[in-house]
Each structure stands twice: as C-alpha cells, then as structure tokens.
C-alpha cells in the first residue's frame, strides 16, 4: 500500500464544511422552525413542502438548479458579481451554500417538532411573569427545545459529511477547495486505489455510526429519565 499519495486534505475540508454548514444551519433553521411551528398563515404548507424538497429530490437536480442560479448568468450569480464576490460555483463558499440548502430539512424538522411539542402554556406562563417575546424565546423555548436542536445539528452535520451529488454538480473536484471526502473516495475508486478508498470509507462509516449511536443513546436516556 502506498500511503505517500494518501492525503488528509479532503478530511479536513469535509469537517470544515460540515462545521460551518451546521452553524449556519442552526442560524437559519431555528427561526424558520419557530415560525413554521407557530404561524397560522394559510400557505405555511407551501413553505413546509419547499423545505422538505431536498429529502426527495435527486441531489443532481438540486445541484443543477443551484449551478444555474449561482452561475454567471443566474440572478444570484449576477448579484454576487456586481458585489465583487465573483461567481460561487466551484468555490468553497458555493459548497457551503449548497450544503445548507441540501441539509435544511434535516435540521428544520426535528427543531420544528420540538418547538411544537412545547405547546403554548409555558410561553404564556413566561409572559404573565413579565418576559417579553424575545426573552420567552431565549429563556423558555430554546431550553425546552434543546433535544430537538441537538438532533437537528447532528443530523445536519452528518448529512453534510455524506453529500456527493450536489458537491459534484456545484463544487466540482478541486483538491483543497472543493474536494470533499465522498468525492475523494470516488476518485480513489476510479483510479483503482482501493486501499486509500478503504481508509476514507471505513473512517466515514465508523464516524457516522458513532454519531448516530451517541444521538440515539442520549435520546433513549432522556426518555428513560422522564419515566
């Protein structure tokens, strides 16, 4: 086995991508989930369906439209160009944006369910005790939705680790910039470097299993505590 060609760069890139994506996901998904859990707007189901789209779409479809949208002729692309940022496809930033969109339902749904499960009462109690709407959100809604937030973050992180199709469409395969783990594994397999592919693939398998195990373990303990 020749380890000289083996390179940890895709691993670090993937972890960096997943971390940044998770942080952004929580910032986007938490207010969105709060709104979806509380709004009585009659067209809220439209938003629910839009958020859930990445669950069912082939990643290539999503990647294709993102490529058009962010590309030099897409309207987002034109905005970013006029702002002097340039075009986002085939850059790390483009990858982050695509990942956030792609993993959105995995974060929104558990958080939304957690908010809905709190019900109105604790927030009403907090209001009668002098807490403003923002204060109620911070001091009551967020702590009570903590399990949902944790689940959303872990799922978003793990899902970003594993994405392939969207990355390939919008990020390409530029080492050090957009070459993530899953793409690197694909490269190794294409080049018949099975040993290198094994190291990455097995690492990924083990890591994903441990993350999910930890998540279920925690959730199981929580429900056992409440009995």
């Amino acid at each position: 086995m020749d380890f000289s060609q083996f390179d940890l760069q895709p691993v670090w890139l993937t972890l960096r991508l997943a971390t940044i994506t998770t942080v952004l996901l929580l910032c986007v998904a938490t207010p969105l989930a709060w709104w979806l859990a509380n709004t009585r707007w009659r067209y809220r189901q439209v938003i629910n369906a839009l958020v859930a789209l990445p669950l069912v779409l082939p990643p290539t479809v999503l990647g294709f439209y993102l490529l058009l949208l962010l590309g030099p002729r897409g309207w987002v692309g034109q905005i970013t160009q006029s702002l002097g940022i340039g075009v986002l496809p085939f850059t790390f930033s483009g990858l982050v944006i695509a990942s956030v969109i792609y993993s959105l339902p995995f974060a929104v749904q558990p958080i939304q369910n957690a908010f809905a499960a709190i019900g109105k009462r604790p927030l009403e109690v907090a209001a009668t005790l002098g807490a403003s709407p923002w204060d109620r959100f911070i001091s009551v809604a967020l702590p009570l939705a903590k399990p949902g937030l944790l689940t959303g973050a872990v799922l978003g992180f793990a899902h970003t680790l594993g994405e392939f199709g969207v990355v390939l469409m919008i990020g390409g395969n530029i080492p050090g910039q957009t070459q993530v783990l899953s793409v690197a594994i694909f490269d190794h397999v294409e080049a018949y470097e099975y040993a290198a592919a094994h190291v990455l693939a097995a690492g990924m398998l083990g890591f994903s299993f441990i993350v999910l195990l930890a998540l279920y373990w925690r959730t199981g303990q929580r429900s056992a505590e409440q009995v």
Binding site: R121, P122, A127, T128, L129
Partner: protein
Amino acid sequence: MSSGKPVDRASNNQSTAKPGIEARFQLKRKDFALDIDFAAPGKGVTALFGPSGSGKTTLLRCIAGLEKPTRGHFTINGQCWHDEHKSIPVHRRPMAYVFQEASLFPHLNVRENMAYGWRRMAKRQRKLQFDDVTAWLGLDALLDRRAEQLSGGQRQRVAIARALLTSPQLLLMDEPLASLDASGKAEILPYLESLWQELDIPVLYVSHAPEEVQQLADHLILLDQGRVVAAGELNALLTDPLLAISHFEEAAAVLEARVVSHDTEFHLTSLAFDGAQVSVSYNGLPLGHKARLRICARDVSLALVQPQKISISNSFSVRVVSIDPDRDPSQMLVRCEIGGQHLLSRITRRSVHLLNIEVGKNVYAQVKTVALMK
C-alpha cells in the same frame, strides 16, 4: 442565563385612580360568544362562578391579555390595560396568573421557577421578598427539587409563590384547586384563605365549585353562556332565590360574624352577628376575631315561636323576605333577613302552608349546623 432585563411594568398612577375593576369584553368564536360587562371592587376576592363553558377562563385570559377580544375595555383602579386604542402586552401588565395546572417550567428547579418572574421585576417594584414568600408557602425544603419530583399540591404552591413574587397589582386565579385531589386541595386552601389577608390586592378567582366560592369570595360574578347573569356582594347573591346557585344541593348563606366568648365547660365558642348569636365547637380564636359562617339552606328550619326543649341551640329571630319554589317541587326556598344579612331556609311546601309563613313575617330560624369557614 437570564436574558430578560427587569421590566418596568405599567406604573401605578393611583393619585387620579378611580378604585375598582371595570371590564367589558366581546369575543366571537365558531361555537362560543363572550359578551361580558361587569364592575368589581378594587380589593378583596371576586369569584367568577359558572358552569363549564360559561366563559370564565376566556374572560380571565382576556383580562390577562392572553386572548385577543374582538372589542374590549379593562381598567383597574384607574389604570387602563385595554381599550379600542391600546392593549398593553401581557408581559407589561402588572398582574399575576395562576393556571389550573401548575405549569412549572420543566427545565428549571423550584428556586429558578420562583425566581423567573421575580428577577424580571425592577428592584423598586419588588414588594414581596423571596425568602418571605418561600417561608410563608413552606417551600424551603423544596427549593432544589425539580418540578417532576413534586406532588400536585406542592407544584401549585410553587406556582402561587412564583406568581406572587412578581408583586402583582391584580391576581388572576383560574381554578387553582380543580386539578388537585382532596389532599392537594386541603393543602392549598389554608394558603388561599390567608392570602387575601397577607396581600392587599384584588383577586379574580375562577371557580365552578360552590364550596370554594362560599369559603373564599367576598364578591361574586355569576356567568352563564358567555354572559354575566348577576354580580354583587357574596351574601346577597348566594341567597338570591332567583339564581341557580341558591338551588344547588349544597346551597348555603355565608355570614360575617365576630368571636364573642368561649365556653370551656361545654367546649363551645360563641359568635355574634347582627344581634344574633350562634355557638360552634371551641376553636380558640381570639375574641373579636372576624369569622365567616356558612349555613346550608337545608339545615335551617323555621318556627313561629321561640323553640324550647329542643337539642338545637342555635336559633334566632329573622324576617321573611321572599318565598320561592325550589327545583324540588315539594320544597320552598325561604329567604330570611337578619340585620342586613340574609340566609336561606329550604323547607317543605306543606310547612310553608301549615305555618302560614308569609313575606314580612318574623319567625325563628333554627340552625342545625353552622360551619366556621375562616
């Protein structure tokens, strides 16, 4: 972890204050309409009494600002909380709300639950001290417990403490005893009885249990199907034969009396009200202590002459004010007056006929059982 700055709740402008509570609310739902208009004193306990579905809780929620009425107007002691131009948001109303279920925050322990509202008050607005309220409600030993480790009665005590610690100018209570078992009720009632004496703030107390109203209220508002049926002083309404509350099996009059003497030989305490005296079991209350007597309509019989050679010793002269049919066709409700207070007597239609009891006649009321309420 506090993110809340102390809230300066609507300041108390009592110099121009008109005392009392005035409330008008209209609200429409698919299967329910509320159309309420009442005034209540700005002190003491006003019970909102009615069957379930009569709109008691909705009314209380409108007053708290938790429900948006179609139209509404609410003032308390001169402060306006809601009218056509403005509605003070819930968290700025200087009131506290005790829900039917204690609704403690599950992520906080007892101490943190109690401190939640207290910490959000500006220091100068804190009229009650944390340690005093803790001691008064007997919560010292529970402060570090979590909500799920408490019994129902303990939880409701914490909820009451948490509400009081916001130093409210109005206390709203939505059937705080209804979700408790008998022992939980017995645990909370003594606190509720003395609450009003400890705090000089008006209380609106929602209930559908006549005994609670008889025990706790000073003033009564009767609701049915989203409307006010009657409003007034407790004794007058409890003994009004035209109201449903006087037709309950446990219909009773509540009279204010004073402790006048103790009899150690026979183990009795005498209480006086409006020229009449009754005796109850010895209770050791100080002389002059004001107490509330509950006299059930079914325990009052009427006689034309002062009864003698009879085991019932509580008897006094009263004047018949009205005679009305009871729900039971064999019974009549006779309302009697004694020095401005009223009591009810439920006797058979035949007795009314045989004794020729008429309005304006003076008769002797014999009371079999007198309960001392507080």
